[in-house]
Structure formats: C-alpha cells, structure tokens
Amino acid sequence: MLAVIARRMADAGAVLLLVSAAVFVALHLSGDPVPMMLDPSAPASEHAALRHELGLDRPLHRQYLALVRGAVRGDLGRSFRYGEPAVSIVLGRVPATLQLAVAVLLCSGLAAIAAALVSATQRNGWVDHGVRALTAVVPSIPAFWLGVMLIYLLSVRWAWLPTSGRGSWAHLIMPTICLGLMPFARLTRLLRSSLLTVLDASFVTAARARGLSRRRVLLVHALRNAAGPFVAELSTQAGLLLGGAAVVETVFAWPGIGQLIVQSIGSRDYPVVQAVVLMSAVVFVSVNLASDLVHAWLDPLLRDV
C-alpha cells in the first residue's frame, strides 16, 4: 500500500510541475505587463526600472526556478496590481466562490435527485417526457444570456430580487440558477438512466417480493445503488465550480475567483494568474489523489501500481 501512495504522490507532483511550467510559458507569451501599469507617456527608462523591480528582466529559467522554489514554500509572489501576496488575494476570493459552488451543488443535486426519481418511476409518463425535454434544452441556454434576462425580469421589471453583488441569500438566487442549470441537466440524465437500470435488477423485485414498501425500495435500495455515476459527476462539477465561473461572476458582479482570473489575465498580473491556476491544480490533484487512495484501499484489485 505504501508503494501505491508513493507512486501516486510522485504522479501528482509531476502533474503540478507540468501545470506550473505550462502556465508560466503561456503567461510570458501573452505579453508584457509593464506598459499596462505605467502612464502612456512614461519614458522607456521607467519601463526598464519597473521591469527590474518586478524581477521580469531576469532570464526566464531563473524566473521559473524562483516560482517553483516559492511555490514549495507557499509563496507565489506579490500581485503586480494589488501589491499584496498573490496567495492571500486568491484566498480572499475563495469564500465567495465556495458559497456559490455549494449553493449550486446543493440545489442542482437535490433538484436532479427529485427530477430523476419522478422521471424514472413514471417512465414515459408526461413528467418523464418533460424532464427529458428540459435536460436536453437546458445545456444550450447560454449562461450569459440567461443571467441578463433574469436580471431584467426579476430585478428591473418585477423588483423581486437584487440585481447583482453578494449579500443576503436573495443575492444568491439568480447566479445559482444560471450556474446550476447545466449540472442539473447532466446529473438528472445520469441518475435517471442508472436508476432505470437498477430498477430492472432482480434484487429490486426480490425486495418488493419480501414486502418492502415502494418508497423504501426506491429511496433506500435503488438510489444507493444508482448513485455511483451521479456522485462521480457531482465531484467533477464541484471541481469546475471551484475554479470559478467567470461569465456568471461578471454578469452578477460576484466577487469570486472567476472574475479575479479574468481581470488578472487582462492586466497580465502574472503572480495572481499563476496562483489561481496552481492552487486550483493543487485542489484538483489532491481530491483525485485522495479518491484514488480510498478506492485502492477499498479494492485491493486497484492496487496494481
């Protein structure tokens, strides 16, 4: 088992190194941050001075090594724009992103369970057709358009909800709807089809034959067995949501990581972009690692190193 752990951690480390190299190269190819930070009429000597102050005139490989060394210590440099440590800027945005991610996962997850349950048990009924049509149409609705329409209807026209920003639970409603539609659609379809498979299985008939109520069979036995793909998709969606949803955050002025990374890329704030990418990579890789290790522990067959 130890060998498995060691091997998996080495793989994780290699992935992180690759990610750091990729983002470093991409950033440096994307352009020079210095002209954007100075007044347009600043002379060339000032550009050179600022470049030196930010350490951008060092050879590229030295800059990369400094990044890796700092990353190991948890120091990803200081933001060019804010002047503060990049890590703390990113961490400052995490609560907002986390709040939205949790709301989306909860709402879309619960809604998906409800829709899939009804749909699977009333197969080919009108509810089933409705749910299937909905999950087919929903992924084609662009979140940006939906966001603007919702704001217009629910905030401007009918004044039910605040337009944007973060504050009370009311602020959370529209962004959650916009971000939650796609996960809802995918989760519903997955759960529905695995429920249908499970409901046809012989153990379900056997359970009913033993006298268990329909509700118990459905919710306790069938659902649990059908949960596999649903949970897998849920964790994928969690990973995506934690990366920040730039479009929805921009439309709703939600101060999350998505907005931060878009602005940082636009202003070539290297340290912050690197921090967001690396920190997200660490989260992804750690979650994967943990999940791999748990599976390997549970199932000795997976311990093939």
């Binding site: 994307s30 352009g31 009429s41 600043a42 002379p43 400052g92 907002a96 409800a114 401007v156």
Partner: protein
C-alpha cells in the same frame, strides 16, 4: 407515485418566501447613495498605482493644493490659497490655515513636504507629475517653496494631480495606507470590501464650508463594482444604483423615457484619433505628409458620429482640446473631400492606392472596432486598402508603447492635467510615450513653450506658433472626434459637475427632496 409531500412543502415555502421579500431594493428611504464603478480598484493609494477609478474614490478623500475648476480647467485655490513665482525655478505657496486631517493631524507645510516627496518617489504614475521638482522647502508653518530643476510652466498644473497626505499617519502606516487612507477631503474612508465596494462617509468637519452651506447633502456614499454594462444599466433601472458613468450610446437609447433616471452629457476630453506611424521607412507611404493629409480628407466623421455613436461625439479642428488654450488660431478643418484626398495621394505617388494595417482594441474604447471597420470602408473609396487588426487590450497597450504597430492605430488621448501639452508629450515629443513621428523642429518649439512661464504668453505661443505647425505642417494624426461624457443619475440626485474631468467628484452631488424622510 405521487409527488412526495416534502417536495410540495418546499415549493410552498419558497413561494411564501418570495412573497414576503417585498422589494429588497427600494426599501429604505435613508439608504446610502450608490455609485457604480466598472472595475474594482486594487489599492486606495495612488502612490501604488494610479487609475481613473481610483481617482474617483481617492479624489473625494484627499484634497490637492490647487484645483481645476470650470469648463476650461482653470487653476483655483484649494489647500493652497495663493502662490507667487519667486524666480524661474521657485514657486512659493501660501497654505490654508485651520484645516485638519480627519485623524486630527493639522495641515501644515510639513504635510505638503511629506506628500510631495512621497508621491515623487512613488511607483504610481502620479510621480510623473513631480519629476521636475528638485526640493520642497518649508519656509514657515504655512508657507512652502517648491524648487524645480528646470524652468517649467507645468509645475502648478501638475500639482492639481497631487494629493495631500497626513505625514505622521503616512509614515507610521506604511503599506496599510493602501487599505485605509486618510485625508482632508469632503469624504472619509469607511470600508473596502475587495472586489465588491468601497464606502465613504461625509466629512462633517470639511474645511470648505462655502461648498456645503447647510452641511453635507450626502451622508454615506458606496462605490459598487459592477463590470458588466447591462447589469449596470439594470441596477440603475431597478433603483439599486444612483450614478452610472461611462455610458455607451446604446445604453443612452435604453434610458430615454425612463421615469426615474436622468442623463447628463457634456463634452469631455476623450479624443479619438488615428495614430499614424510616420517614422521614415517604417510604414510607407505614411511617412509622406501628403498621404497623411489625404487620409484626413478621406474620412467622413459625421457619418460615424451619427450612425455609430448616436451623435455623442463632435469633430475637432485643433490638435489641442478646445478650451485649453486662450486664443485658438482658426485652422482649416479636415472635412470630407474625396477628390482632394485622391489628388494628394496622386501627388505623393500613391495614386494607385496602397495597403495599410489599422490596429484597434476591441471594446476598450467606445465603439472602437466598429469605427475601425467604418474607416476601412471609407478609405477604400479613395483606393486605400485597410486591413483591420483587432487586438486584445493588453496586447494593444504593449505593442503600441513599444512602437511595434506599423500603420494606423485607433487611439484615444485625454487631457489629464488640463495642460495643452499633455497630448504633445504623449504623441510627439521625442522622449514621450509613443513618438511615432519624431520631429526635431517640434521638439524645439515645445521646449520654447515650456520655458515661457507666463501663462498668457505660453498659451499664445502654443496657439499661434505650435498649433498651426502641428495641425497644418506636421499632420501627425488622422483626426476623428471628441467623445461626449455621459452619466446617468437616478432622480434622487442632482449634479453640478465641478469640472469636466471624467473622474467622479462627489462635491458636485446633492440630493433632491424627492426622498421622503428628509436627508
């Protein structure tokens, strides 16, 4: 199977909650005045980084020694009540008495010295306004001498961009100043939620008692960050926000006829033009002045203004923005004249037409890409084949400043200190920001102008000698139009702008009496 009871219960609860929410937005007659910002600030200290959004906030917390007032941006006393020129290199400033910072520190010559020195040594672009200042001498508690390295007519103008900071707090706070600024201004800093909002409160001990005779009309002002233009509009229409700037013509159309919204427009200093790469051999035949003149005659500015900008712009006939010099010499306008354009091209040997790139940011300036495409079509009519190259804004700034854009570049300039030579310094001076048209004669004219310390003489020299040379002989740009600045206000507010600069100066805001409950 019936819909589970828990689901129906949840639906009822949600419906009930919606009903009892009421209007979370319009409730509260005493809610603060909210101003929309299109992007967050990254610091509250212009010494770290100076941006327009930051000036909209910080300019209400800090005062300057000298201010710019009125449509012509004339110098006016603020924390300095008067000034004399002692000699070619020295200005003496007399300071206002009885003013304190909001943390209790008194405003004295020591504060002026600290403020100027720390901004001159700072990384923010504010230091460019102080690059010519050699020393600040304290003469007595309320008198300060400013000594420059060279005689410079812009010294006082430059002070209008320089804030006054409390020396004790400034020194002890260090970088904490970026998140908690203190000044003498009409508003004090309360709170900054990064990425969300900045909150200010009226300074009831503000020294300028003639401004608010009955006390400050506004109590709390919140600057809210909202990057998306349609969301900003929705916030204004729903009453969540009271002031939105940076309105595009499409947004103006949507605001027409809205009951609780008023739109104010006035000509700003944002000047759109085509920057021409006239370096010899760099992008031929743009280095030939006849070709540059021809391009000026080939553009139908009015068509662009009417169709793309809904009339929210005006063509111009001087290089320097109107109102910044006293006596503009009437100069010949470059109107649409295709025949003349073709004749000039033929004279320059480009009668068969030529190809050129037109670089433009996409969405950074008002209708930039659309204007570029319109220009492409217009120039095609005189045989010039334009290839429009849209660039991402960071890339555009980068390459433009490195003089890598060989061709025409859609650009915008502003008058940051109200000095006529702002534009010259940016575009034409050899050591300036983007000298795509180096010219020794112009450099000589400009340094002569800068040595004229008498404002009237300088203004005349610029208007009578430099301007005609630039506009008629040098032709460094293809002139386009000046954009109109539009702001939308909810009808809770009235606004008398203090000057035409585009940062938001809250001193001009007042409340109407529409709000029940006073205030």
């Amino acid at each position: 199977m019936r819909v589970p009871r828990i689901v129906s219960a949840a639906c009822l609860a949600a419906a009930a909650a919606c009903g009892t929410t009421g209007n979370p937005v319009r409730d509260g007659a005493r809610r603060p005045v909210v101003v929309c910002l299109y992007a967050d600030v990254t610091t509250l200290d212009i010494r770290v980084q100076t941006t327009r959004n930051l000036r909209s906030i910080a300019g209400n917390i800090h005062d300057t020694l000298i201010g710019l007032h009125g449509p012509n941006l004339t110098l006016a006393p603020e924390l300095a009540t008067s000034w004399d020129r002692l000699d070619a290199l020295t200005w003496r400033l007399h300071l206002r008495r009885g003013v304190s910072f909001t943390n209790g520190e008194p405003f004295t010559a020591a504060a002026v010295k600290y403020s100027i020195e720390s901004q001159a040594a700072s990384r923010g672009s504010v230091h460019t306004y102080l690059s010519n200042v050699a020393t600040v001498r304290i003469v007595d508690e309320f008198t300060v001498d400013l000594v420059t390295r060279e005689p410079d007519a812009m010294t006082l103008r430059n002070l209008t961009a320089v804030y006054v900071y409390p020396p004790e707090y400034g020194r002890t706070a260090g970088t904490a100043f970026s998140s908690r600024p203190i000044g003498t201004g009409p508003f004090t800093f309360v709170d900054w939620k990064k990425g969300e909002s900045v909150t200010l409160q009226a300074n009831r001990r503000y020294w300028n008692t003639s401004l608010w005779r009955e006390g400050p009309p506004l109590d709390t002002v919140v600057f809210r960050v909202c990057p998306d233009p349609s969301t900003r509009l929705a916030m204004l229409l729903s009453g969540e926000v009271d002031l939105v700037d940076n309105l595009s013509p499409d947004m103006l159309a949507r605001l027409k006829g809205q009951p609780h919204v008023r739109v104010t427009s006035f000509p700003g200093y944002k000047r759109m033009f085509l920057h021409v790469d006239a370096r010899p051999g760099s992008a031929p035949p743009l280095d030939d002045v006849r070709v540059r003149r021809a391009l000026n005659y080939a553009i139908d500015r009015n068509a662009i203004i009417e169709t793309l900008l809904s009339g929210q712009a005006a063509p111009y006939t001087h290089f320097i923005q109107e109102g910044l010099t006293d006596a503009p010499e009437p100069l010949a306008a470059y109107g649409l004249d295709r025949a003349r354009a073709k004749a000039l091209l033929a004279e320059a040997g480009a009668g068969g037409g030529f190809s050129v790139d037109l670089f433009t940011p996409a969405g950074a300036y008002m209708k930039d890409k659309e204007a570029a495409e319109a220009i492409q079509a217009q120039l095609a009519e005189v045989g010039v084949r334009v290839r429009v190259v849209p660039l991402e804004y960071g890339d555009y700034v980068n390459r433009h400043s490195k003089l890598q854009l060989k061709g025409l570049t859609l650009n915008r300039r502003m008058a940051s200190t109200g000095d006529p030579t702002d534009g010259y310094l940016y575009m034409l001076a050899s050591g300036g920001g983007a000298p795509y048209i180096p010219n020794a004669h112009f450099d000589r004219l400009l340094s002569t102008a800068n040595r004229l310390l008498d404002p009237a003489a300088r203004s005349q020299y610029l208007a009578r000698t430099v301007e005609p040379f630039v506009w008629n002989d040098l032709v460094p740009e293809v002139s386009l139009y000046d954009l109109v600045d539009s702001f939308a206000l909810s009808d809770r507010l009235i606004w008398h702008p203090v000057n035409r600069q585009e940062q938001i100066d809250l001193r001009g805001l007042g409340r109407t009496t529409w709000l029940g409950g006073g205030q």
